[in-house]
């Protein structure tokens, strides 16, 4: 590239790098702080580690050991898994049935019901807590895993159904005609033809829902109450902020524990995640 061109492009690169810095520095600060000793954290900024980066003795994983074992965040991590994996699986499963029905079956009220579904996507969850919580309490579902599985399943359904439906309705019709000629029932058509084809779409929805549920705080606060034995990571950390708000060694390590799994999912399956987001917003 000619020097003049390079000069002309400098503002572009600088702008982009400033953005990148603003998006990197806060997270980097969290990570570095989480492996420093509590006395160092309170005394100096995390950026002071750089001049003596290789002199050793600055970093340890003690904060993580403390927060996972002593503070019981390990248990919460398992709870988060126990909440998000089944809830995601159930909602993806139920949504794919509904999506097939809406995409390829004829029944009265199909259009109206689907519009209801589209409308339900943006209903604030705040509208639903007050009527459901008393029922949950009466049935003994509040503070239990099945209770929150059901709630997350239902809350995720409109979006999940919408996404899978938009994928399934794009499947060529000939496929169904030949299946019908072969005498396949709708269920067989769905299960052995449509579902295998839809795996990329289902993967997107699964990841999307999983991250949503894993990161959820509000629904957990409502339906799991203050019970520490079932609290997911997000709720546990929110409690830490209230009770130990100045203990940065705990908060930073805990926050990173909560981010670890989403980050792994994000970087390994980013393609599907992006596809889910795109399908949800700019369909057609």
């Amino acid at each position: 590239m000619k020097p003049r061109q390079l000069l002309a492009r400098t503002p572009l690169h600088v702008t982009i790098l400033v953005f990148a810095a603003i998006w990197l520095i806060p997270t980097a600060g969290l990570l570095i702080t989480s492996i420093r000793s509590p006395s160092n954290i309170a005394a100096t900024g995390w950026w002071t580690v750089f001049p003596k980066l290789f002199s050793g003795g600055q970093f340890s994983l003690e904060n993580y050991a403390g927060v996972i074992f002593k503070e019981g965040l390990g248990r919460s991590f398992l709870n988060s898994l126990m909440i998000s994996v089944p809830a995601t699986a159930i909602s993806t499963f139920v949504a794919s049935f509904a999506a097939f029905g809406f995409a390829w079956m004829k029944f009265s009220g199909r259009k109206v019901l689907f519009m209801l579904l589209v409308g339900a996507m943006v209903v604030p969850l705040q509208m639903t807590f007050i009527p459901i919580l008393p029922i949950y309490r009466k049935l003994g579902l509040s503070g239990t895993f099945p209770g929150i599985w059901l709630a997350h399943t239902a809350y995720g359904l409109p979006m999940a159904t919408y996404l899978v439906q938009s994928f399934m309705s794009g499947i060529p019709k000939d496929l169904f005609d030949s299946a019908a000629i072969d005498g396949a029932s709708p269920f067989r058509t769905f299960w052995s033809i449509v579902m295998p084809i839809s795996i990329p779409a289902l993967a997107s929805v699964f990841i999307f829902q999983f991250l949503w549920i894993w990161n959820d705080l509000l629904v957990a606060l409502i339906y799991l109450g203050g019970r520490p034995n079932v609290a997911p990571v997000t709720m546990h950390i929110a409690n830490l902020v209230t009770n130990r708000g100045a203990d940065w060694e705990l908060l930073t390590a805990a926050a990173f524990v909560s981010m670890a799994l989403p980050l792994v999912v994000f970087f390994s399956l980013q393609r599907y995640f992006v596809r889910g987001i795109l399908a949800g917003s700019v369909k057609g």
């Binding site: 982009i16 953005f19 990148a20 998006w23 990197l24 520095i25 806060p26 600060g29 954290i41 100096t44 900024g45 995390w46 950026w47 049935f97 509904a98 097939f100 029905g101 809406f102 079956m105 004829k106 029944f107 199909r110 259009k111 019901l113 209801l116 579904l117 589209v118 409308g119 339900a120 943006v122 209903v123 604030p124 969850l125 705040q126 509208m127 639903t128 807590f129 007050i130 009527p131 359904l157 409109p158 990161n215 705080l217 509000l218 997000t234 950390i237 902020v241 908060l251 930073t252 926050a255 981010m259 989403p262 980050l263 994000f266 995640f273 987001i277 795109l278 917003s281 700019v282 057609g284």
Partner: protein, 333 residues
Amino acid sequence: MLGVKARRRRLSRRFAETLERSRMGRLLLRSVRPVGQWFRSGGWRPWSFVGPALLLIGFFLVYPTIATIIRSFFGRGATLFGPNLEFVGLANWKFVFTNSTMLMALRNNALWAVLFTTFTVGFGLALAVLLDRVRYERLIKSIIFVPAAISGVGVGIIWKFVYAYKPAYIPQIGVLNAIVVAFGGQPVGWLIERPWINNFALIVVGIWMWTGFCMVILSAAYKNIPKQLLEAARIDGANEWRVFRRIILPLMAPTAAVVGTTMVVMVLKIFDIIFVMTNGNYSTEVIANRMYKEMFNFMNYGRASAIAVVLLILIVPFMILNIRRFAAQEGGR
């Protein structure tokens, strides 16, 4: 010997004949037969596919919406309905629109809606266009997109630490105050200085979290624009700014509108960040956080319901927009 099926058929025919003899029986038959037909013709089949989802949505989203609206006209107490609940008419609504904390929450939500939406969509658009011109696009995109994958709680802690405050005579541990002090300023209590600094500080956190989401969608739209179009304009002598104003912006406006409405709907319900970073103290209250407090701290389901309905009312226009857009898509297929 008759087969089981044939025997069953004969039995049911005899049963029907017996019923035909009485008037009540005939009435019963007439009302039951369509159901049988419906079963035999397979009319139930679609419902076995969509039924479970509809039941769940009905129970968890539709019924509660109606019940909450009704509940907003009844008094305090932590039950949905009951004999000891007092009908209070519009009292909860009066509270929502006159109480000073509620008014503050409404103001803050409006502030969030304007600033958050403008900047997430604006930055997203700028990044979509700028990043297309450099070779390290994917790397930067990943960096800016990451916050979309982590929780509001995690993001809240990341930024609480960025905003950390120490008195001026000891070293700062928050990066922002360290910068301020390095330039000779006094450390700022970013989350405490009311009412503007702390609210802006919180909105910055929201923008940081959601810009990547907007960027990803807008970038996909940008890459769909035929590049010959832009080239043609450049050859005709249009400068970059003109190309952006006259070609890129109009072509991307529909997508930007969709992203913008998604952001508004999201930001009206903003909760996690506030709950973790300030819990609505120091004039940073928002609607969703206030609703949670009314529900769990003050056990006043009446007021909490009214607040939730306010959220719904604010979102209804966008709901209608969504449904319309969907109907248009359906029509165009």
